[in-house]
Symmetry: C2
């Protein structure tokens, strides 16, 4: 069911490409355009049927009714003003950035119809060749409306994510950033820190446990640098909380306090059981 005429997806990588594929597959738009700096990315996106047309020129967005920004957080912040001078006032702008406060506060000012979103799905893999139209099926997509958010734009973006198979949850941008600092950004920090100190010569002995635990260490370095720096304050708080808990565990190991260890391990296990 068509809900948009011309959709422009800026950034035809894993997320942008997956959104494009799902929009095409479900016929949610009259036409889907991809914009990327990299011509090869547009060629691949077109080859897999994610987009109808590709362009390296942002100006093709001038008659779009939906623009989805699927580039790294800093790139969204960098290009927003230029895009605001290209699109029509009625055009809906949506982003998929992994931290929301900075983006929402800046883009809310620049656009009449901005809606911030964060699909909680992805992969450590990069590029449109890993895109899949089912990436969002059964996932959660967080939408971060503000008092300024246009209600009709909000409703249409909500409908879009539902059509892509996601369960939509609304959160304040601040609460979103606090939450993802715990469930996404801190886990990446911890796994990068862990992976970085394991001597190379031991890695060939890694069991399935280590493989699963460190899978996200293969994630893109620039993407995650941007995410970490855009959510610095909340991330530093969650790192501190993690460090305190690690110190408690370390002291229990050092003292041979088995009872304390069991209580900490049981608590972690109970929480893990809550992860669906």
């Amino acid at each position: 069911m068509k809900i948009f005429e011309k959709v422009v997806i800026v950034g035809t990588g894993l997320i942008g490409g997956s959104i494009a594929l799902a929009i095409k597959k479900k016929k949610l738009a009259g036409e889907v355009w991809g914009v990327s700096r990299r011509r090869e990315s547009l060629v691949s996106a077109k080859r897999i049927g994610a987009i109808d047309y590709g362009s390296q020129d942002m100006n093709i967005a001038k008659d779009a009714d939906l623009v989805i920004l699927a580039v790294p957080v800093n790139t969204i912040l960098d290009m927003a003003e230029r895009i605001s001078k290209i699109v029509k006032p009625r055009c809906i702008i949506c982003d998929v950035g992994s931290s929301k406060q900075q983006i929402v506060s800046r883009l809310d000012k620049l656009f009449d119809n901005f809606v911030g979103t964060h699909p909680m799905a992805g992969s450590e893999k990069k590029g449109v060749i890993h895109a899949s139209y089912g990436l969002f099926a059964g996932s959660v997509c967080i939408i971060t409306p503000t008092r300024k958010t246009n209600q009709q734009a909000f409703k249409r973006i909500k409908d879009l994510w539902k059509a892509l198979g996601a369960q939509v949850v609304c959160l304040d941008a601040f609460l979103h950033d606090k939450m993802v600092s715990y469930i996404s950004h801190l886990p990446h920090i911890v796994v990068f820190a862990l992976m970085g100190i394991i001597p190379d010569k031991y890695l060939k002995f890694a069991s399935g446990g280590l493989k699963d635990t460190t899978r996200i260490a293969a994630s893109d370095s620039f993407l995650w640098r941007d995410i970490f720096l855009s959510n610095r304050r909340e991330l530093l708080k969650s790192i501190k909380s993690f460090e305190n808990n690690l110190t408690t565990i370390k002291m229990a190991v050092d003292k041979g306090d088995g009872r304390k260890l069991v209580s900490i391990l049981k608590r972690a296990r109970k929480k893990r059981d809550l992860v669906k």
Copy 2:
């Protein structure tokens, strides 16, 4: 091909049960006995065809030619002396404990034919109902012989693990413990510490990345308490090394040092690519 007459597996849990299943499937023994404190565990082990006979009495090992200790590290240490008074001198004793220095030094003194092993395979799941005869296929099994190790016993245990599908690697018990502190024990500590601080209300938003990263937090609390405490010295060293790396990352985030972050993240990613 039969390589043992009577095999006794002490501890019919995930690992003991999987060894038993594979021995039965490949007809490596005349008969397989299971010993457990828990009658239900023996009933289950027999039902799935892992053992021919079950007993709660260790004395059935008196005419065994192989006894495999597949109980937690501390239980191995606790019961070794009693078993040494039951088995015949020619009986081969093998354990599957996750740390080796304590076990190897004690059991080498108690038995004429002891061989320490550590199959690098497992699961966060517990109990014989999760046992599988293919658990060790394609995995690595570390054997930790000493100068005292009987060469014939060593060869037969090596043949056993090869027959179970594992690639056998020999390591000194000290080097083994140092290695597993990095590739197994520290990752568990870090994941338990991480899981423990994530507020419950956020857990339902967890994406696939967090699920994979924290899967091992569902591991058995008592088993891991024992493992941590039995490898205390090496574990504390690897925790310290992890803490130092985390501090470096935290400071880079705090200072907004993007270049430093990218270099740390790239290093972690390169190491992750070495994990097969």
